[in-house]
Symmetry: C2
Subunit: 155 residues, 2 copies
DNA sequence: ACTGAAACCACGACATA
DNA sequence: TATGTCGTGGTTTCAGT
C-alpha cells in the first residue's frame, strides 16, 4: 500500500469505469503494471467489489432515517443482530458508545414503510427497550468516498 | 423504470464489473439492448457513477463515528454546511428531526484524528451549541446496496 | 424498442528486463 | 516488480425488424 496504490484507490472510488489506460496516467505507470496493481488490490481485499452508485430517490427509496435503539444485553443481542441483517431497508447497523446500544441507518419508500418497520419489526425484536427515530429532512452531504489516509509508517 | 431496469440496477449494485453478456442473461435481453438500457440509466441519473468498494480499515480509516450536533438556526447554518462538505472525514451530514440539528458520519484513522476534528473543526464552527459523539464499537451491518423498490404505479 | 453482426478497443497473458 | 507485444473477448455501433 504505497503512494501509487493510494492514488489508484482514490481514483477508483471516484470513477470505477475509468479504464486502465486512464488509470495508468494517474499512476504514472504502464498499463500492464497498473493492471497488476489493481488485481493485487482486489486480491488483498482492499477493493471489495465494484458497484453502481444509484440515486436513492430514483429507485423508490427517497426516505432516509436513523434509529437509535437501546437493547438489553445478553443472549437476545445475537438474535437482534441477525434480524437486522436480514432487513433490506437497514443499510447500516452499528453498536455504539453512549446511552444507546445501536444506531441504524434506513432507506425506505415512504413513511408508511418506516412506521411498519418500527412497529412490526424493530419493536417486536426481543430485548429492544427504547427506540428513537431521527428522520432526515435534508441531506447536506452523502458520500461513499473514503478518505484514503496517507502513509502509515508501520506498513 | 420497469421490471427489467429494476433487475439491472439490483445486479449492478451487487457487481458492477459483471459485463454486458452476463447482464443480458439477467435481463432476458440481447447484449445490445442491455447496453442501451444501462446507458439510459446513466443518462437519467439513476446510475450516478461506478465506484470501487474499498475496505475502510485497509485504506487507513478503521474508525467510524457518528456525531449529533445542535446548531443555532439562522445565517450561520449555511457556513456550517459549507464547512462540513469540505471535510473529507465527513462521509455524511443530514439535517434531522428531533432535539438535534445534524447527524454526521465520520471515517477516521484514529482517536487522535477524531479529537482533532471535534475540537479543532466542528466545535469552532459558528452556531454549534452542543455535540454528542457515538463511537462505533462494532459494525453489525454496513451495506451500500439500496433496496430497489418494486413498481410504483405513478410512473 | 429489441435483435444480430461487424468493427473496434481494451483487457489479460506472456516473454523480457 | 515494471514494460511492451500479441491474441482474445467484450463493448459499441449500425442496419434491420
Amino acid at each position: 500500500m504505497d503512494e501509487i496504490d493510494r492514488n489508484l484507490t482514490v481514483a477508483l472510488q471516484l470513477d470505477g469505469s475509468a479504464g486502465l489506460a486512464e488509470l495508468a496516467k494517474v499512476a504514472g505507470l504502464s498499463v500492464s503494471a497498473t493492471a497488476e496493481r489493481v488485481k493485487r488490490l482486489e486480491e488483498r481485499g482492499v477493493i471489495r467489489g465494484w458497484r453502481a452508485d444509484l440515486d436513492p430517490a430514483q429507485v423508490g427509496c427517497p426516505l432516509l432515517a436513523h434509529v437509535l435503539a437501546a437493547v438489553a444485553p445478553g443472549r437476545e443481542d445475537a438474535s437482534f443482530r441477525k434480524a437486522v441483517r436480514r432487513q433490506e431497508a437497514v443499510l447500516e447497523c452499528h453498536a455504539v458508545t453512549g446511552s444507546w446500544t445501536y444506531l441504524l441507518k434506513l432507506r425506505l419508500p415512504d413513511l408508511a414503510a418506516l412506521d411498519q418497520f418500527l412497529n412490526e419489526e424493530l419493536r417486536l425484536l426481543p430485548g429492544v427497550q427504547r427506540v428513537e427515530t431521527l428522520l432526515t429532512i435534508a441531506t447536506v452531504k452523502e458520500s461513499s468516498i473514503l478518505p484514503v489516509a496517507p502513509a502509515d509508517p508501520e506498513e
